[in-house]
Structure formats: C-alpha cells, structure tokens
Point group: C2
Chain length 411, copies 2
Amino acid sequence: MKKADKVWLEKTFDELASYGRAEKGITRLPYTKEAIAAEEYIIKVMKEQGLDVWRDGLGNIFGRRRGKNDVLSPVATGSHIDTVIEGGDYDGTVGVIGALEALRMLEGEELERSIDVIVFMAEELTSFGFANVASKLMVGGSFTKDFYARVENEETGFFAALKGVGYDPENYKSAVLAKDAYKAFIELHIEQGRVLYDAGEKLGVVECIAGASRYKVTVEGRPDHSGATPMGSRRDALVAASKLVLAIQQAGFDHADQGIVATVGMMEVFPGAVCVIPGKVVFSVDIRGVEEESLSSTRHQFAEAVREIAEIDGVNITVDVLTIEHPTPMAEGIVDMLAGEAAATGAPWRRMNSGAGHDAMYMAEIVPTGMLFVPCYEGISHNPEEKAEMDDIALGVEVLAKTLKKLANTH
Amino acid sequence: MKKADKVWLEKTFDELASYGRAEKGITRLPYTKEAIAAEEYIIKVMKEQGLDVWRDGLGNIFGRRRGKNDVLSPVATGSHIDTVIEGGDYDGTVGVIGALEALRMLEGEELERSIDVIVFMAEELTSFGFANVASKLMVGGSFTKDFYARVENEETGFFAALKGVGYDPENYKSAVLAKDAYKAFIELHIEQGRVLYDAGEKLGVVECIAGASRYKVTVEGRPDHSGATPMGSRRDALVAASKLVLAIQQAGFDHADQGIVATVGMMEVFPGAVCVIPGKVVFSVDIRGVEEESLSSTRHQFAEAVREIAEIDGVNITVDVLTIEHPTPMAEGIVDMLAGEAAATGAPWRRMNSGAGHDAMYMAEIVPTGMLFVPCYEGISHNPEEKAEMDDIALGVEVLAKTLKKLANTH
C-alpha cells in the first residue's frame, strides 16, 4: 500500500479552508454559499480521483470507488465539512479529506467491495437546533416530535434551508439508507478533547460514543433590592443556581470513573442588575456517559439536588428535558480491527470513548460502525485555533486505509 | 396643623404618573421629554402653592416657602422624580409630592426659616453609569476620576445630556451648594425593602445609609468541549464562579447581625454554549453595610475566598473595584426629632438603616440630614408593581411636616 501523502493532505486542507474563511476562523453553515462552494471543491477532488459521485435527496455527497463485486454491500467512511460559526480547519474535514487520501493510498489494490466516501450535511448544531440532522434522517430513526417540528419549521428549519438551495424536502425519505446498505462505516475525526494530546498519544480507537442528556433548568426566586433586603429575607435564584452547578459537578465527579461528564455551559441571570437580587436564572445541563447505569445514577443525583435545593432555598426549579440520547457502543469487530492496525503502527494509542457526538452515532443504528481519533492541539475545537498535526492525520489515514482494505475484502 | 389630604395626594400621584407611562410601568429617564414634562408639572404645582421656584445649573428644581427670617439658612426636603426603565409610581415621587403636601399642611403657620423643596435630577443609576449624579455634583464632593470621565463623556455622559436640553455644563459648579446653605435636609422615601412591610410597621426612621462596595469579578478558566473533557481535566470558570457566589453569600450571612448584605446580581457566562465548558464568567458583587468594621471584615472574607478558589480551581480571578462608598450616618438630632414625631403618631415604627442609596447620602456631606421611610408593598421597587398605601404616605407626610416645622423654628 502507498504511504499517506502529507503534501497532498496539507494542500487539500489549505484549499478546503479557503471556502468560508473570514476574519476569525472558518464559517461554513450548511446550505450556505460557502458550504456549497466547499462541497463543489470536494466533488471536484472526488472526480479527479475517478470516484462515481452522486448526492442524495438531502444533499449528502457520496463518492464511490467501485469494487470487483457489485453484489456485496460497500464499506463506507466519511464525515462532514460544515462548521460552527468561527470554527476551525479540522473538525469533520479530517474524516473527509482523510477518507479521500485513504482511497488514493488504495489505488491499484484489488478489493472485493466498493468503498463509499460520505460527506454528511448539517452535522453541527449551529443552524437548526439539532446536530447530525442529515444522518438522523438517513437512518430513518424515530426521533422526538420536537425534532421533526424544528426540522419542518418553515422559516428556520432544515427543510426550509434544503428548499432554499433547490432540494425538494418532500423527498427526504429517498435519502433513508437500507439496513443492509453498508458492510461497515468508519469515521476518522479529531478527538476534540485533550486526552490524547495530554498523554502524547497519536491514535484513539473509540469503543463507545457517549449518550447526552440535556436539560434546561429554570430557577425562580424573588428579585428584591440588593441593598434593602436583609440576608435572611432573600430568595436568591443565583445562590440556588450556584448550589445546583456545584451539585451537578459533584455528580459528574462521583461517576467520573464510569466515564461520566456533567457540565453547565450556558447560564442567564435575570434581571441581571448589580443592585437587584436575581429573581430568575436559566441554565443548561449536559450530562454524558457511555453506560446506561451510571447515566441514570447521575441523572438521579441531579434530580435529588434539584428537589433539595428548591426546598432549602425556597425557590421554584423547573427542569425541561431537551434530549435523552443513549450511549452508542461501536461494533466490536471493527473496534478490534482498528485497534490491531493502531497497535501495528508502533505509535502510542489507546482505546477510549467519545464524549462528543458524531454522525457515526446514527450510522451505528443500521451499520456496524467504528471511529478513530487523532489528537488535536490542547483539545481545542470549534474554534479558529483548532489544529491537528499533519503527521498525526497521516497516521490516522494509514490506519483507516488498512482497515478499509480489510473490510472491503471481508465476506 | 392641617391633616394630610389623601385625596390631593392620590390625584397628584396619578397626574405625575401620566408622564412617561408606557405599556409597562413608568419610564422617565433624566433629561428626556417625559422627565421634562413631569418637571414642568411639578413646577406648576409649586407655583400654584405660591412657592418661589427656580432651577440651578444642573436643572435641579427648588421651590421655596419663604420664612419670616431671611438671614437664617432654610430647611430643605425633597427627592427625585426620574425613574428607572419601567419603574413604578412611588420611588422618589413620595418625597417630592409628600414634601409639597407637607408645605400645604403648614400653610398659615408662622415659621422662622424658609423651607425648600428640592427635586434632584438624575438620581437613578440607569442613564449615566452612576446614581445620584446631580446631588454628587451639588455637594462638590471629590469623587473618582472615573465618575468625572463618565459624567463628561461626550456621547453618553451626564454633561452631554444636560447640553442636549439647553444647559451649559461648563456652569455646573454654579450648582454647588455652600456648606451652610441649609439648616437641615430630610428625605421622605419608600423603603424599597420588605422590613416594614413584613413587620406591619408604618414608619422607618433611618439611622444610617449603608455604604456600598461594588466590584466586577472576572473568572478565567478554559473553554473545553463538554463531552470530550474528563471531569478531572477541567478548568471550569462557572464552577469557580458558583463557589464564589456562595462564599459571598456566606460572608453576608456571617455579618448579617451587623447589617451587612452581599449580593451577586449580574452574571455573564462565556462562550455560553450548552456543549462548551465555560471559559470565562464575569459577575458583579455588591456589599453594603452601615459600619466600617463589618464592611471591611466582609470585604476581607470575599478577598480570601477569591484567593482560595483561584488556587484550588486553577482559574484566574480578577477583581476590579467599581465603588467603595462609606456608610453615611444620619444627623443624630434629626434622627431623634423624626423618631419623636414617629412615636407620637401611635403607629408601629422602627429605627432602621437604609440599604439603598439616596440623594440624602450626598446632602449629608454638607447638611445635617435625616430620612424617613414608609412601607411599600412586598418591598417591590424599581418595578411597575411598586405600590405604597396612601394612608402610609399620609402618615409619613404628617411626620415630615411636623419635623420641618420644628426645624424651621429652631435657631
């Protein structure tokens, strides 16, 4: 097999990064002209490589390297090239450009199965209120009513955006994949965390993608005058919210051994004046884990804290469930195959979980799926400073190429 | 002496409330057309009462009831009629309309000293980044550079607003009062807290106006991915900020017996996304008290908490001092005089402190000053639901009138 071509990789990352580059980082929101230009660039590269290229009813791009045996279901790999607002060069793109380089490395090899590179639309959360919109629809999963209501929203929804660039959203079901459409799916991605970076490791073979439970919490107290209200007469919503933030962190720590993380990322304080005791605080909770049991135990600890703090502090606390996602284990056979190839490189590597969500989470519902991580600088992602070393990407591409080759020759 | 006329009071509150009334509450920001119309209304009422009316170089309104002896310095009373955005009918106005009614009650009485009703401009914090701008300038105090910089700001400053309505800000020193300008100053005001309301008391004689120390605190951690960053690898700025909120509350409780209150009213979390660990949190701290010693001890406890939490949580915490105001004791003689008249009403009353700031704080720098509170419904203030009973206002006006009379006849 050829070696990964770092010069070609670097050039291709640079060229792709020119689409949507602004003063700070890269912004390619799905179905905008920046994203469309980037997609056309990727299609051009696919065609130069001799792939058969098509797009489905949602705009997802497929580039196929034909195998010898058209009867066998193909192997698939890929990721996304849309970004958050002011995102970086590597999130998603490593799994698309890396997949194309892996196919280039396989040029001249005789493979039984075809290999598809898939570029998923609308992976990021930014535009439509949900992440992974296209992959969710592709696997025809039964998602919440809220998901469909938002997807179908006539002004801000995914379907409206689709229509805006000439797709007929009525046809979205044509994009649903058959259960046996693929033999396997592998997504190469930057870790988006600092585990590999801090440990100086080069490859992470994902065993499970964490399930996220997300909540909107509203704490209601009483917005009294900060100067005129004695300490004992207060119902301070921010004091209660602060206790809850610490209780949520404690619940995370108590289950950290089981891979739980718990975060309050967003918080708004009302009325938000120096001289007014906060009467209302709204915040988000994001609990993730890879085992149902520890997720459930963490959620329970959170619910208990809500009950206790509401009682002790005399505030009303309302918890709205935004999402309850289950953990998604990767297919054992593929994990072992990736692990074998990772070990064979001689580079330091580990088996690990993915705290971040990926299209692989949804593909796993219908296809045996695996994920491979490469480190990124300080774990920074969704940020102009996102950075991955070309050596590390090349190593990941080599493991990907070898695994794809094995899978493509597996009956 | 005549009794307070509740019908006249009610009618006058209603008429004044028509200036600046919007969908929610009343908005009369200083030097806007709503405020000017309200000022013209008050001037009309003053003239109907036969007062000599003039305005100083800052627009402060003076209405004088002439006494027999022009050589003696007058007694003064008054408050403000500007409001916060969507404020209520009673904050400030009780001390202006109440003063006019007190003078009406004194009609026909022979008094040695003149009595001035003062309507202070720009009492509220909303417009210029500082509260009590006019009274600060009137007493010629030496305030911070920041105060003068903001007052003089060419776009948003107090002087720019003054200029916009035809005053020459260059002349502001003409509004500075002489040290012996007044024999005494008394401000009647709603409590803006729930102490009197909760206790069912009708009058509060203020012994001291709390001094406020205000800070802007910035906590800097690291904005990592909420899913991909294990609990032990985090530098969560919101977790540290939450600890600090609770430490500040504890410092308040520890000094509550000495009248301390401590509040975090404003907080902003950055980047403020569900899936990002907060990298930065900015919040306000407002510590108030009536004794230098307990204020200093509370500030010390806050500073210790900052140091400890920064060290334990591995975050940077910066504390910017916005204001350090000293407590302002009211003049003992006037406090005793008000207390005597309050007791004489037979209604339940108390001596108390004012947690809120008032123009009386600044007048006290050059004039023996007192304050009298009447209760307001549930302590609600700076809000469309602000409400005071006409019976309670009338009682306050009677105590005010009797005290003014005594002072006006004191040599």
